[in-house]
Assembly symmetry: C2
Homo-oligomer: 450 residues x 2
């Protein structure tokens, strides 16, 4: 029994690098023997492709395939380019159909066609079927490996079928019951199979209250269904209701994790799937677009303030409160859009209708705006010697809170309706919008009240 995790320390990495440089196979082999393949995957990120390949060749073909399966797609793409067609075929033959299809999808079309032609016949037909689906739908997420039983089979026949499938190390939780046209009828959990007399017919024990998903359902919807109904595996059917595959919870956990990561990036204003340790140029490029939008917004603001040069020259203190207005607008905008994104992402919620939602948003903004502007009114009276300015600033602040709430609420809804990820609206986009809005409000107030 092993405890928790293998820890990748700097010392171990350096010792391992030394072993690699010296081609010290004994050390490499013995230090990895007891390590979970998933941890070896993490280790490989520290070495060059050639070094990684050298390490993998010391391990069994099965472990090698498992490790390559776990690599992140970007790294894997580069890494596999140093493998020959034969080596790739050998590795892919070890994988479940869904993982095989994922890897083939990443390879250049010519390479993947050539490999498919050389695959084991069973896997080959499964993979060809899977490659038809987009990777973001149930069909692209499912695996073809499953236990299929007829309703008129006995429990013994089911067990024989499991024995046949058990050669490859795939995990099964259920036996799926189909009719003579392969239409899904229901399922028998392994647990039930164990407890039932071996001569019993499947039709007498199967559970027909099964939730299935169709091949074209989006992966995030599949994830939500599995989470909501606490399913460890879900059958996938085609439009005719025929059983074509199954999705297990571990694949869905990956979908949920990736979704959270994508959202975090959108909210931080980073455009590409980039990580801190990616290349310098990739990091620069991922950040530039939103920064440019911000710069563009800033230049617009500057031009806009230019129209009020006279007022500014008369009362310089007007300029002092630009940061206050701008920051509050940005914060309110981000808060509002954050909340909307949350309810858009959580499909449990029922659409209340736009008006009901806006009424609520406005009530919150009204209260917050009132509280904040009173605080600002009081403190500007205390700190700044001017009669009109406190009124102008606090009134403009009140309006900014209202407007930014509105924009922060409406933008993610619009972006979502246009078919994009609403989290896009929660980052620098909303800040730039709020900045411009805030300034306009402030200077219009200045012009009217001064």
């Amino acid at each position: 029994m092993e405890f928790a995790e293998f820890e990748l320390t700097k010392e171990f990495r350096d010792r391992f690098q030394k072993a690699l440089d010296e081609r010290d196979d004994a050390f490499i082999y013995s230090s990895l023997e007891e390590v979970n393949p998933a941890d070896i995957t993490s280790l490989l990120y520290e070495f060059t492709s050639e070094e990684s390949k050298y390490v993998l060749n010391l391990l069994s073909l099965q472990v090698r395939a498992r490790i390559i399966k776990d690599l992140d797609p970007e790294t894997r793409k580069n890494f596999l380019s140093i493998y020959s067609l034969e080596e790739l075929t050998e590795i892919i033959n070890q994988l479940d159909s869904d993982d095989a299809a994922d890897i083939l999808n990443e390879l250049p079309i010519k390479t993947s066609e050539e490999i498919i032609a050389m695959l084991d016949p069973d896997l080959k037909s499964q993979v060809i079927d899977l490659l038809r689906y987009d990777e973001n739908v149930a069909g692209g997420l499912m695996a073809k490996e499953l236990i299929r039983a007829r309703a008129n089979w006995t429990v013994v026949e089911c067990i024989d079928e499991i024995r046949k499938q058990a050669e490859n190390e795939t995990k099964f939780y259920s036996v799926w019951v189909v009719d003579e046209h392969d239409k899904l009828l229901g399922r028998v959990e392994l647990q039930k199979l164990i407890l039932t007399d071996s001569k019993t017919l499947v039709k007498d024990i199967y559970d027909d209250d099964v939730t299935a998903v169709e091949t074209y359902m989006e992966d995030r919807d599949v994830a939500e269904i599995m989470r909501k109904y606490d399913l460890e595996s879900v059958p996938v059917v085609n439009v005719q209701g025929q059983l074509v595959g199954r999705i297990t919870i571990d694949d869905v956990v990956d979908v949920i994790t990736e979704q959270a990561e994508e959202e975090r990036q959108l909210m931080s204003g980073i455009t590409e799937d980039v990580e801190e340790d990616d290349s310098l140029w990739r990091n620069v490029r991922a950040r530039l677009p939103w920064l440019l939008i911000g710069i563009f917004g800033g230049m617009l603001s500057a031009r806009f303030m230019g129209f009020f040069e006279q007022e500014l020259a008369k009362v310089t203190a007007i300029a002092f409160f630009v940061p206050l207005i701008q920051a509050t607008g940005g914060n309110v905008g981000i808060q509002s859009s954050g909340l909307v994104v949350q309810s858009l992402v959580n499909p449990d919620y029922m659409d209340e209708g736009l008006w009901k939602r806006l009424t609520k948003v406005f009530s919150v903004a009204l209260l917050n705006g009132l509280l904040l502007s009173l605080i600002v009114l009081a403190s500007t009276y205390v700190f700044f010697n001017n009669n009109k300015l406190p009124i102008i600033v606090s009134f403009a602040l009140f309006c900014v809170v209202l407007f930014s709430s509105f924009v922060g609420t409406i933008t993610p809804i619009l972006i979502n309706r246009l078919g994009f990820n609403p989290a896009l609206a929660s980052g620098p986009f909303i800040t730039t919008m709020s900045d411009l809005l805030g300034l306009t409000t402030y200077f219009l107030t200045v012009q009217i009240l001064i």
Copy 2:
């Protein structure tokens, strides 16, 4: 077989409300008969506690318990307050130990003590054991229901044990093998049990390469281990290595989802676990703290700019570029902290050391800063008639990009070291910091260069 999801429409809700008002039991019962309990849970959010209780009383005790288990804790707490001790005991007796403990934890201590005293003996001792653990560690996440087998048992004896446990509808994936002191030795997957001859001894087939977690491990670490190693269930052991419970993947999916939600809230500057349809006051309160910090920052900025009143009066155009500087500072800060939070949240990454990280961050900032300030330099020359200003603005912008990158990188690391969620650093906090930093840089540049 049912397809995908029950859809909660406004029409259905209104029709249901009418049935409720008229106490039309036949309609209520027939419309819910085929609906998954998880969907009935979503429906209940639309009605008052009394109405919900009325609906639940029309359903079987088992379904009732399942629905209450799925409610979100906040709603459940209010809802259960209208139940009597006897009713609560009856419901909790239907639950698995982990869900029972969660609900008991939410009740007032006196109520929960009284219920525990009335629980079925088995569940009672399990729940008492579980209540010792904090809800954010493995011990608080685990359930006590599991199949425990001795190494010297035969497969038949294992199956008998499963039969005993199978009364309550708990799902099992594995049989856990222990020695005479209850120390965990390994596991047998149900799949393997099915394929093995019934007289075989457990010790000849069990897999000793099992990853276990200890009771005090944090829930997010448990989630990460289950994700990384693709586990559908993980055994929990105490410090003596004795098997005390098991955690299944569905509980961990909930942990991951909640984590993503918490992060989104922190990044949006919302302090409480609040949703759009929560009460007005709760919404106001959740937003105020960060807004106040923003206001405080804004007032500080105003005071600070006051020191440069003379310069501003002389060259009003200085004020024009305050929004540009502030927005860029904020955007760069959010991007940098977003990336750091990402690698802090993803434990796969190896700590490169602070210096290596900062070097990278600085290189990216240097490049981005250079590009942006060149763009600003060019456009200010074109749009504004001033010789010095373009140089001042673009130089300040360059410095702001550098400084904000630094602050955005260092803040989440500090917050993480202090034991808080680093996502806290990715929202309005970093924006406020960047604003102040940006202004200071800008006006110092103004003072030096003008």
